[in-house]
Amino acid sequence: MTPRPNPEKSPGLSGVRVWLAGVGPLLLVGAMTWWFLSSGVAWLRLGGVPIEKLAIERVVFRPQEVVLKVRNEGPGPLSVGQLLVNDAIWDFSITPGREIGRMKGATLSIPYDWLPGEPYVFTIVSGTGIRHTRRVELATMTPSASPRSFLIFGVLGAYVGVIPVFLGLLWLPFLRAMPRTWMDFWLSLTIGLLLFLGVDTLKESIEVLGRVAAYWNGVMLVALGVVGAFFALNGVGSVLAGSARSGSGAPARPSGMALATLIAIGIGLHNLGEGLAIGAAYTLGEVALGSFLIVGFTLHNTTEGLAILSPLVGGKASVRDLGILGLLGGGPTILGAWVGAFTYSDPLSLLFLGIGAGAIFQVVRVLARGRAEGGESVIESLSRPQNAAGLLVGFLVMYATSLLVAG
């Protein structure tokens, strides 16, 4: 934070003055805040009881017990008065106590003979009589972090994320056997697939936004993830393409392997979010992971392997390379499933979904720029019949397989 000597600073501003100029506004803001809180509120006659807001962030079902994790997201402290389960006063214990400070959390333990597969409504009435409600559509035993459940969710993640990506990679010989003129088509197909995944990731974040505590400012968490991932991957892309950088300084086309790596990272980040969503959906009791759903995810994600492959059609790629690419793209699903199942949190989920979307869009950008030749704009290049067809087919394939996971 030491102010560096600025060669262009206006003459006559000594070091101390620079400091003052930097700190002065902060001091003034501090003074203003102090006045406002100490006497301004009273002077302006801003009073009244602030509306209490308590978010029930997580519902955990254990044998004959339900645990609620709550967070006070209101403007001031609040106290937990009564707990209603399906609109009946129920017994509970609470740690650390009934009084919850602003932004602080608490855990309620409820002795309750819940039944699997039934809906429940949990309502907390806070001190001023406001109701705070969370509805669970389908009660399911919350998995605890045992070796067995780790294994189960690991296998689940592998099944829906890792294996399909590898299966998709097996198309490489086929792609290579096709005429070279099809290259354009495969690459634009990949753009279509990725565009779909990007939008799909954002769609999932919208679902989480519907229930996340307002206090977390969820939309901006997603935006943070998108912007952060986009520019971070931009950096990664430059490093990967660095070897191919021409002396003139103009950005050269990244190599096929670099592109494939970029795509794999993007898809991997997307799959992290997807794994989170799967683990969480199971934990939150919002979806029964039916066999259909798993099969759907498997088919859907096979196309992701195809997307990673397209830049490699022309060049060389060893089995080891393909293995690494497959792990990069599919592996995060397992990690996501674990995190989602055992330590799920809405705000974290939003951040990761944002990162997934940002990463994908960055890859789309790189791929799309790679399509442009000569003085063509990206749109112009994508509008060429072969490219447009590939893009559309990619999107449609994704859409069709996504219907299998609907619901």
Partner: protein, 324 residues
């Protein structure tokens, strides 16, 4: 060979177990519903509990002056004011009250008495006192709104005998009643009813989030589950019990009461000395009331509650502790 102390502990445990068994449901039975008891009872909770228990047995006969015809002039001083009360453990309610608590005092007199109510409005909006009874138009507490800071004197003769009520009649009335402006107006017949253990129970609902649509909690005498959790009502086996039951519920059409393990005689509105019904469950509309008379032949603990069990499980639950 267990020591005597151990034996005592065993007996205590057995008694505790027996107490557990009287709970309304298998899970609730382990502890009264409503969360952990506060380490020390808060002043608001104490006030709510004490007021509910006091309302059960406290009657306000006013300042009585005997009149020549054998009746009395009874004078009451009632003040409307805003008070924050607790309606369930840990849940506060910005109540509008008669004399600082919900329900207001039970005004009791004998048929034919002259009643004079000095009503002062120390609240923040116009209020009134509308008595159920037979009186002149100007004393009806509807068109004569009392603005904050003003005093109004209601004068009327207490008739007919029976179990009546009073409440604020400022519009929107459902809001003024829902916020707590009501109480019992009990007019005894000149020939007194048989001697009995008498109790006042006022049923109501509290719309704590003030959305005007539904009640969050239901109480008897203003505090959820008070006669279940804090003060099981002690009664003597065989003794005649008389409940003055008044329904002041707003936002719900009816309220009800069911006594376990005994039946009661019903005197609707208390305007007759002959019961009309012998039952164990009575359902009443808003503003309806009845006198119930019964005895418990066997000692033990017996529940009483609204037989709309959704009300019972939102605070309208109590128990009699019948002693031999």
């Amino acid at each position: 060979m267990p020591s005597r102390r151990l034996l005592g502990a065993g007996l205590l445990a057995a008694a505790a177990l027996a107490a557990l068994l009287v709970g309304p449901a298998r899970i609730v039975a382990q502890r009264p519903p409503g969360g952990p008891p506060a380490p020390e009872i808060s002043p608001l909770a104490r006030a709510a509990r004490d007021h509910a228990v006091r309302t059960l047995t406290e009657f306000d006969y006013g300042k009585a002056t005997p009149l020549r015809d054998g009746t009395s002039l009874r004078e009451y001083w009632i003040e409307a004011k805003n008070v924050e009360v607790e309606v369930a453990p840990g849940v506060r309610f910005p109540a509008w009250t008669f004399n600082g608590a919900v329900p207001g005092p039970t005004i009791r007199c004998t048929e034919g008495d002259s009643i004079r109510i000095h009503f002062t409005n120390n609240g923040t909006m116009p209020h009134s006192m509308h008595f159920h009874g037979i009186h002149r138009a100007g004393m009806d507490g509807v068109f004569e709104q009392v603005v904050p800071g003003q005093t109004f004197i209601y004068e009327f003769r207490a008739e007919p005998f029976g179990l009546h009520l009073y409440h604020c009649h400022t519009m929107p009335v459902k809001m003024h009643i829902s916020r707590g402006l009501f109480g019992v107006f009990l007019v005894d017949p000149k020939q007194p009813r048989p001697k009995a253990r008498e109790m006042v129970m006022v049923m109501n609902g509290f719309d704590t989030d003030l959305n005007g649509e539904d009640n969050e909690f239901y109480t008897v005498n203003g505090y959820a589950n008070v006669f279940f959790r804090d003060y099981p009502i002690p009664v003597k086996a065989g003794e005649l019990q008389r409940i003055y039951l008044v329904n002041m519920t707003e936002l719900d059409l009816v309220n009800s009461m069911h006594t376990h393990a005994t039946f009661f005689h019903v005197y609707p509105t208390g305007t007759s000395l002959t019961p009309t019904l012998y039952t164990d469950t009575i359902t009443m509309g808003q503003g309806e009331r009845a006198i119930l008379e019964f005895r418990y032949p066997y000692p033990g603990r017996y529940l009483f509650h609204a037989h709309q069990n959704e009300f019972a499980e939102l605070g309208w639950l109590g128990q009699f502790d019948v002693k031999p």
